[in-house]
Symmetry: C2
Subunit: 102 residues, 2 copies
Amino acid sequence: MIVTCVYIYVKPEFIEEFKQATMLNHLGTIKEPGNVRFDFLQQDDQPDCFLLYEVFKDEEAVAAHKQTKHYLTWRETVNDMMAQKRKGVRHSLIAPTDPDLW
Amino acid sequence: MIVTCVYIYVKPEFIEEFKQATMLNHLGTIKEPGNVRFDFLQQDDQPDCFLLYEVFKDEEAVAAHKQTKHYLTWRETVNDMMAQKRKGVRHSLIAPTDPDLW
């Protein structure tokens, strides 16, 4: 299981457009067979900061995601909406390890 | 739905003890009726940095969690293991909103 937090700072004037574009990416991603979660969140005390909590089954699933049309379209669409380069932080899973809890 | 990311920096000599104590908190928390997720993660490029991805149904569930024995024990046990004060960042959920996806 591969868990990546992607932190994205959006220029204030693009917040609504960013939400729409990312929702399309969300809807596409959760249909991928190797995707486990793709939670889309907005930070309460900093509404221009968004978090994607992305969980994939394995490296192959991560690689497959990066070839999908919805990801590639999203990447191009939101590129100029970001106030700074987005940051992906990878994690190792400690718990839960039971597949039924994912 | 309330999503909080808790970032915890642990003194290197306490990493294993911290993992054990936090696992007990994880096992207790996922049994709470108001808990949705309590993912326990270790950052790949910075193994002294841990993330708790905590999702509760509502404010009442968050408040109830903070009264549980497993949380209070954890808080006291790990207090001196932290290299700095832990930071909880609250988020609003944009997606998924379908309860079946949680």
